[in-house]
Structure formats: structure tokens, C-alpha cells
Subunit: 348 residues, 4 copies
């Protein structure tokens, strides 16, 4: 069986996204991680940086300069690094998965507006598939360039897509408020991540101007004003997004149900969570740590036509590494659930 596995090299494997990809890949039936790079930790066993992997692998970090060929190269670099060094990585592997924002936006002008500088390889943007299986499953089959979707964008896109696709929303401003865990800011410590400053905090860190707005607008059908506000919470993992939108006159709760069922009925990683009783009535990231699920729920205010959509994900799994694994599974026509079987803990 091992002979048939695809070899994987993870570039930038000491961060949270790379570490999570590594964790998932180590238990994947068709992947074999053969290289993990880290400039800062080169020479160290990966378990020194990702202590959950102690005993699970003998891999050591190497420098990117020592990268050998692999079937799949996974880039877990800071934004605006992968694009600049793309040729270097294209020389090493046929399939490239980028976990950064570098290849998500199709339009180089939008990229420049959002990220503040010209895209280094605009001519390459067309080669990449936006790594969201629910929207691009067909495109992902056989894909060799996968730009993994952003975490907050994923929580927004997956909640809105069926309703916008099926015309279930009125043409009004859509407002998303995202509650995010501290891992979303990455593995490097900073003043804002200092535990005494963060443990009890509810901190609005991006009231306006969130970069994922552009991603969501690119991917979602229709043309509508979309507003995002992001707030950091005491959780480590997870995103809970509530979205305020309006249904057209005459639409009801059932129409929203129908839209989700029609579009997501067969999706292996989407669960519609809307329960009349009990304490777990709506999506809650508490239940999703380590899983690839996106739980989606909603509630309607019948007096006003307002519908509150809710989505929850683990930002590092369905928001990053799990999404990437799912995309690779589709690209290679493996079981889409392979390596993503963990169902989450309760209590957690």
C-alpha cells in the first residue's frame, strides 16, 4: 500500500497551518510526508515544535533550500511569500497546494487593492483552483494548483452560497460578524497574543476592511454589499460567524431549509444544525476542534424577513489544512473523507 502513496513536502511546517496539515497527512491512507521545512527549526524533530506529534513520526525539519522532489508540495508560508518563490516550488513537485492568500484572488487588481502591492506572478493566477470543494468540486478533479480558501472567507461563503445561488436573499446589505480563536493569528507570539492580555478579552480586531471580503465576493454569486467584522475571543481554535441577511418577500423558513438541502444534500462535511430543543441548537465551534465539518444553522425573524445565518468551523481544519486535504482527495479521486474521519469531542 505504501508504494502507492503520494509523497508530500510541506514548506513552512513550523506554523500552525503547516503543523495541522502534517497531523492530518500522517494518518492519511494515500499520503506520505517525506519532508517538512522550517528555516528557524531546521534540524529539530517536528515533535519539538508540534508536541502532539511526538512519537508519531521521525521527521526532522530541514531548510527550504534542501527541498527535494515530492509528488505534492504544500506551501504553508506567510502571505506574499509563495507567489514570489513559485518557480522554486514548481521545480519540485507536480501538484502544488498553497495555504496562503497568494493565489486565491483571480483579479490582480483586486489583489493589489487588498494586499497593497502588485501580484508577483499575475499570469499564473488563472492556473489555480480556489480550494473550496463545495463550490469547485468539478474543477478540483485532477487539479495541480490548489489555492486553499481563507478561514473566515470559508465560514462566510459556505453559509451564504446556497441562498445566493438560489435567489433566496433579498438585495440588501449582508453583514457578517466573525468570532475567531487566537490560533488564527498564527504561531508567533506578540504583544496582542500575550496570555494575560488575551485570555479574558473580547477584542474587535477588524471592524471594517477585512481582507477576506474580496475572497467572499469573488466566490459568491451575485453582486451585493458584503460587510465583515472580526472579533477575537478566548478560544484557541474555531470560527463562529453570524450573518444578517434578508429573504425576499414571501419567503419563509422552509425556503431557506430547501436551499441548503438542495445545494448541500450530499456534502460529506456540511451539517445543517437547527434543533428545536436542548442546548446545542445551533452551530458551535466548541464541537468542531480537529474536525473538517462546517456546521450551518439559521433562524428567521418572521416580522422583518431577517434571517440570521450561523456557521462554525475549525479555522485550522475546514478553514485551512482539512480543506486542503479534502481538495487533494478530490483532485486524486480518493475517498473525499480520507484522513478526515475525526468526529470531534464532546465535552470539549
Amino acid at each position: 500500500m505504501t508504494a502507492e502513496k503520494k509523497t508530500v513536502a510541506i514548506v513552512g511546517g513550523s506554523g500552525y497551518a503547516g503543523g495541522e496539515f502534517l497531523r492530518l497527512a500522517l494518518n492519511h491512507p494515500h499520503l506520505e510526508v517525506t519532508q517538512v521545512t522550517s528555516e528557524r527549526s531546521a534540524g529539530l524533530p517536528v515533535g519539538m515544535v508540534h508536541p502532539n506529534l511526538r512519537g508519531a513520526t521521525n521527521l526532522k525539519f530541514r531548510k527550504a533550500a534542501q527541498l527535494d522532489e515530492a509528488d505534492i508540495v504544500v506551501l504553508a508560508l506567510p502571505h506574499n511569500s509563495a507567489a514570489k518563490r513559485l518557480a522554486e516550488f514548481e521545480a519540485k513537485g507536480k501538484v502544488i497546494v498553497d495555504l496562503s492568500a497568494d493565489f486565491r484572488l483571480k483579479d490582480p487588481e483586486v489583489y493589489q487593492r487588498v494586499y497593497g502591492e502588485p501580484h508577483p506572478t499575475p499570469e499564473k493566477l488563472g492556473e489555480w483552483v480556489y480550494g473550496n470543494p463545495e463550490l469547485h468540486r468539478e474543477d478540483l478533479k485532477g487539479a495541480t494548483r490548489i489555492a486553499c480558501a481563507g478561514c473566515f472567507a470559508t465560514s462566510v461563503i459556505l453559509a451564504l452560497y446556497p441562498l445566493l445561488k438560489l435567489g433566496a436573499l433579498a438585495p440588501k446589505d449582508i453583514i457578517a460578524t466573525g468570532l475567531v480563536g487566537s490560533s488564527a493569528a498564527g504561531a508567533s507570539s506578540s504583544e496582542s497574543s500575550h496570555h494575560p492580555e488575551r485570555a479574558g478579552s473580547l477584542r474587535v480586531y477588524k471592524p471594517v476592511g477585512h481582507r477576506h471580503t474580496a475572497e467572499a465576493q469573488q466566490e459568491l454569486p451575485g453582486n451585493f454589499p458584503l460587510h465583515l467584522t472580526a472579533i477575537s475571543t478566548p478560544r484557541v481554535r474555531g470560527i463562529l460567524t453570524t450573518i444578517q441577511a434578508w429573504v425576499p418577500d414571501g419567503w419563509s423558513d422552509k425556503d431557506v431549509w430547501s436551499a441548503y438541502r438542495e445545494v448541500y444534500g450530499q456534502e460529506p462535511f456540511i451539517r445543517i444544525v437547527k434543533v428545536a430543543k436542548g442546548i446545542h441548537r445551533y452551530p458551535d465551534p466548541m464541537l468542531l476542534d480537529g474536525t473538517n465539518f462546517c456546521d450551518i444553522g439559521f433562524e428567521m425573524d418572521v416580522d422583518t424577513g431577517r434571517v440570521v445565518l450561523m456557521s462554525a468551523i475549525d479555522n485550522l481544519v475546514k478553514g485551512t489544512a482539512g480543506h486542503a486535504i479534502q481538495s487533494l482527495n478530490i483532485a486524486h479521486e480518493w475517498d473525499e473523507r480520507a484522513g478526515l474521519e475525526f468526529m470531534g469531542l464532546h465535552p470539549a
Copy 2:
């Protein structure tokens, strides 16, 4: 000095609101708590239920049936209890402060719609002043019936009031998302407050239909659609509310600043928090535990005219007991800050 103190009886003093009022009153220069009732804990020292008060007082709980006269009677009962038993309490004290929702709404029809049953004493509603000093300071002077404002309502009202009063908002839907700590649900344990189910949770508990909507609409100037969504967080105390609104064409950041300054310039417990640098740029309930402050901030999206307002309070202080103390201070023309000097902890 003691001779001049007003005596206080707290009815329903074993819950969080009553306990917090007691804590504040014990250090208040003009108040002397002489009675605290609790049906369940009658006979016990108050420190058995409120362990922070061990050694601070020798008071014991008594039953409400044993209530003696007092200058001020503070009602900390479940909703819909105070109104039914009002005559009983009016016989005991000249000044009555109600911490519940029973006397907040002026219109008995609105009350019935929101709370699901007719108001027991609709003829009395006109006697009560809505206990929000920032809006009703003049009415509070000499007041003998004070209906303490709701916690989530307070966070919404204080953020919006100056802008609505001065016409700084466009006539569009206003959307408030409130993040609330677990103490807001009270002192009784339940399945939903069970620590393993709650500690890591981000739980949308009221996506639509929050009862405080009516309170906020009553108090705020103008006629506009207001929508509230409430989410419980792992914090114990505190509310952070973000509000999405829109400024009229041509209005800028400076106009919002001006509105807050004009209306709140002299307010002792409102701070405008909007800092360009550092990690404490906006209001954060982390900094407000135990304080009577309402911190307010905002940020504008210049492309769309959207303004994101943010307000933070301690739900048990500025949201309940501190608000009541401040109202009492005004009613008696004492120093408005009396008993409310605690400035909060950092780190916390």
C-alpha cells in the same frame, strides 16, 4: 456620618444582581444595607452565598415576609415578580428600585407582546423612571421609582443614543450583535450553564427576538428597524456589543466623534475608546469587570458609509447594579460617582 445614611433593603439578594448591589452598597458612603432577603437562603450569612463578602458584613438573609421598613427598597427578583407584589414593597419604603424588566416598558401593550402576559399594574407604569442616567438624569433627580435598564439594552442604547439624537445615522436597518458572559443568565445552574458544555462554547442563544429590542426602541430617538443577536461566550461577566449602522452621505468619522463628544462630554462613566495604536484600541469588557464604565468606540468604512459602533460594559454593574447605584446617587443628589470608584483591573 452613619446617622445620615439611607437604609437599604435588598429583596432577592441571593442572585447575582442582588449580590452585586449589596457589594457596591456596602462600600457606599450614603447607603447602609440593613436587610437582605432570600427565600432559599434565609438564616444564612450573606457570605455563604456571596463568598466575596465574607468578613465584610454580618448580615444574614431573611425571608421577604420578614421585611421591615427601609428608606430604599431594591427589588432583585425574577421578571414578573416585582410588579405582582408591588403594593407589598411600597408599604416598606419610599424609594423603590427595581432591577427586573417589570417597569421598564412604558406601554402595557408592548409589555404584553414582549413578555407574553398582561402587565399586572399597568396604571403604575407612568410613575417609573427608566434608570439610565445618561438619558434621564433630570428625571432621576428626586425620583422614587427607578426601573433599572436591561444590560444588553444599555449596551445598545448608550452606543446609539448620541448618533440618533443628532441625526448622525442614515435611515437603514441597525444591527447589533451582543457577546455576553454567563453571569447574564443568573445564579441558578442549568444544563446550558454546566461548565463542560459552556466553557469552550460560542453559543448563539438569541439570534432573533431578543426582549431588550423593545426597551432599546422605546428609549432611542427616531423610528428605525433595530435587530439584535445575542451570543454567549466563555466570559463570566461582560457584554461586548458591535453595532452595524450607516452614516448619512457626506458624514465622516469626525462627525461621529463630535456627536459622542457633544452628548457624552461630561459623563462620568462613559469613555470613548478609539486608539490608533497598541492592543487596546477599542472597548473590551475584559477591562471593565467590577466597574461602572461603558466604553464606546467606533470605526468607519469610508467606502460604504458603514460605521461599526462598539460598546462594552460589565453586565452586573453598568448593566444592572452599578447603573442602579448611579441612578440613586442622582436621585439623592449625591456625588454621582459615590460607591462606583473601582477602576478595573489590568491584566484581568
Copy 3:
């Protein structure tokens, strides 16, 4: 493959221990859960109580009275329930696993002293194997009665066993201090589990007289005074135990290392964690949520011969349900790791 699976009935499946066994069994290659009982939740889908299992199974709770036969009956009942009803369960399955304390102690007099009443079936105690694979692997092979070890006892036993077995500890008092998450108190809400009372608490809940003392003394070699103090922490899962002991004169750090290596060298679920650098130097339950690992570390005070042992587990996995699965794997001579592959999250 399904044909070869052993059928499993879980009795008392709405609590945390039963729910965790169910989670692990659903992904186990040789187990098929066919029945789950709950008196309170009979008729409901298991996902209503264990929301992490939504979509993972169509099982519904039934009442225990409706129990059918199964290859393996897993008892997840409150203490002192399983023993009283043993005949009822023996009629249903050949292999019985009890997750409670009922069959752990061999000596009925010790049982009576610790649990305050006579054991209902003392004549049966000899049939049960104490479900700790590291100590009783040989006994577990083919076992049909498995009394799953207690969670705090497991953290104490696994840290001390090699040193006591090999005479690496001086005959002095041994003192264990256990930090425990809130899930250890079970799924029922109570005043002490109320989130506002528990979220920030460090609560000594059992300074002396912990019932697991007897279990640990039964299982550990030698005769020595063992003292346990248990403290609840804001975590949901996990136990961190520090143990204060003394090495004999002339013994060093290396001797402790040797003892662990000799006894645990081949153990699949024990990791010795003692790292000179970095932030993850010793065992930490943060890394173990959902895993079956017991991480063990130590540090020596060379001036005094004191050695501080540390062990960390997930109380619901290595402390309960995972331990049971591992025991079943051994009993049936399956791969000891089957169903227990999850390696834990970082960050978490």
C-alpha cells in the same frame, strides 16, 4: 468485514464516559455499536445528547429494559449500579466491561470502607481484571470481565509503577496532587458546575480521603503511605498529576530514566516527556484531549533526592473509555492501537 465485527451494547450511554466509548467505538475496525441505553433520553437520536456524533450514526437511545444480546456489554452507570444489576447484564453478553468503580477493588472490606456500603456481589470480584493494560496485559488476554481503572488512579499508578516495581523510590510518604477538568464530575449540572462559579475557579475539592487512593494502593507494588489531593481547574478534560517522592541514596536522574525505559519501553500509549528546551518540557493535558496517551515526565532535586513525577491524561480516554478500548483490543488480540489513533491537537 462487518460480519466479523463484535457487537457492542452501551448501558448508560448519555453520560460522558458512555458517550466517549461510543465515539471511539464508532470508528473502531472491530466493533459495531448496536445498542445504547439511557433511561432519560430513550427514543432520542444519540446526536441529541452527544452533538459531536450528529451524522455519524443513526442510533437512538433505548431503555435498559429493552436491552438485547450483544457480544460486548459496556456498563457506563453511576457507581454502585452495575454491581447490583450484574446478573441482568451477564444474561445479555459474554464480555462485560464496567467503567464504574464497582469491580475495581479486590477486597470487599476495602470496598466497604471506601464506598460506605457492603459490596452487593463480593463473590464475583475475583472474576474481574483491573483494566490497566500496562500492568495487566497478560491477564487481559481473553478476559471477559474488565473493570476499567479510575481516571485519577490511572494517572497516579502509571507514574509510580515502574519506580516502585524496580525499587527506585525511598520508603517515604508519596504525595500526589491532581489537577482535574470539570468533565470528571460527569454530565449532570450542579451548583458547583455552574459556569460562573467554575470558569475562573481553582477549587480544592478533595484535599484528603480521595477514593482512588485505595485503587492505587491495591495496584502499586510495595507498602507505602500514599496521599492524594485533588483540585479542579478551568479545563474541561484532562488530569495533570504531580507526585512528590524520594529516590534512595545514591540514585540519580538516570536511574529514574532507566526504570521508565525498562518497564514502558514498548508501551504504545506511554510517552516519557522530559525535554531540556522549549515550552513543552513536561506532560501537559492540553495536548492530550481525545487521545489515549499517558505522558509521563519527572525532574529531580539533586540536593534532597526528591523527585517530582508528572503524568497527564485525558480523563475520559486514557482515564476511562480509551483505556477500556485498549483493554478490549488486548482481550481480543486485536491491534492494541485499533480505534485509538487520534494523536491530539496542537494548538488546542
Copy 4:
């Protein structure tokens, strides 16, 4: 009244200890803070660094080189800074309070062994009073050099002092296990304080060799082996210390009670917490944030004569700045409670 206030200069006021002293001093009836230094934040308003103080003061940080005279100079510098620069500060104020460890140990050889380098001004050590009011109240009267006690040392000393003073402990090893919040490591971010690495962690950070051992041994009566193990918890503030000790043959629970009553009967900031019922039976740091209390409790294991002592403090108040204020109150013969009236929050 202001004319009679003592002026205070805080040197190193951007850290947590200095910030906490500032908070307490701003509300103190006899203190007026006129200067706060910070090399890094010179020029900034103190509210930029300590956001709880926004609006409470107009003070700005200055550099230490700009220090003017003051009645009281409070040194909140890293260890081993104050001693080296002592002459500089002695020139500025008559009364000096040092919050660091520099002047706590009387014996320069012990200092060198513990802190790894010779003391810079050993000849000065005799001038300093160890700033623990419960042990040194008489010495503190009129004192002009106060070396504020260490936080973990304080929790150990206050729990043990009465028992050792009155011979209530048997001559056996005493073992203290301290659970500490993240603020104890200071205001600077680091890899170990990174929120995702710390939020869920129970991390043994000092199993042996804690520096406060020497402090406790210096201050406590008698000669006995004392062992400390320190564990960091997810709390921000607070220390809970459990201490394992043994009473002499024939001593009982009542003797321990008597010892505490005899020694601490009149102490304003010590509360003996040992309650038979309810959920707040023993000391818990949850209740002490912001307060100057040290809560002490105990429980005895009658079979073995083991007594488990428990103490809880806020490490930044009774463990640092509050202790210093209390010492200053005594030194100046002010009301010992002045500025320390805050009684703590519940829930918290």
C-alpha cells in the same frame, strides 16, 4: 487634604507590578503619584499601557533619568536592577519600596546561591525590612526601606507561619504545590505566554528549585525541609497553594484552628476559609482578583496526621503591590486598610 499626601514616584511603571501599584495608589487617601517611569513608553499617557487607568489620571511615563524627588520611591524593576542602581534612587526619596527580589534575602551568600551572582550592595541588606505585615508589623513602623515579599513565598509563608510558630507541625518534609496565573511571568510576551500555547495549558514550570524557597525558609520559624513545585494554569491572576504537612501525634483539627486564630485573629487581610457546606469551602483565587486578602484553609486526614493547608492570593495585590501598600500604611501609621478596600467580585 491633598497637601498632606505623600508624593510617590514609581520606577518601572509599565510592568504589571508597577501598574498595579499605580492603580492602588491612585485611590489611596494619603498617596499622590507624581511620577511614573518607563524607558520603553516614555512620553505616553499611562492609560496607553494600563488601559484600566484611562481617564483616571493624566500622568505620562518619563524616563528614569528624569526622575525628580518624591517622598516615596517605588521600584518595580526586573530582579537585579534595583540593587545595582540603589544610590540613584536613594538620592531621590527618603522612603524606598522595592517590589523585586533584590533586598529580600538577608544573607548575601544565600542570595548568590539563589540568583547566581554576588549581591551588588551586600552592606545594605541589613537596612531593609521584609515587607510582610503579618510577620513584621512592628519592624515596618517607621521603616524607610521595604523589600516587598515574593508572591509565591507569601502564599507559602502565610499558610505555614502560625503552625510553625506554635509548634503545630511535625518535623517532616513540607511540600507546597503552587498554581499560578500567567501574570506572574510579567508583561512581556514570549513563546510560553503565546495565547494558543497557554490558554488550555497546565504546565509544570518549576518542579524543583523555585527561588522563593529561600525566602520562605528565611522567614519561617524552625529548620525543616521545604519543597516547592510551581504549575502555571489558565488563570491570569492568582495563586492557589496547597501544602502537605503533618501535625504532631495527638494534635487535631482544633489545634490547627487555634493556631490560626491565635496568630491571625486580628489580621485585617487574612481570612480563614473552611466551610462545611456549599461550593466555596476552601480558599479560591477566583474570589480574590484585585483584593489584598490572603484566604487560608485546611483539612486534616485523621488517619495519618497529614494536614493539607491551602492559601489563595492575588499575586499582584497581596503578592506584590497591595502588600507594599499595606506595608506603607503601617510604616506611616495610616489605617492599614487604606486604599485596599476592594472586596472582590462574585461571580468573577
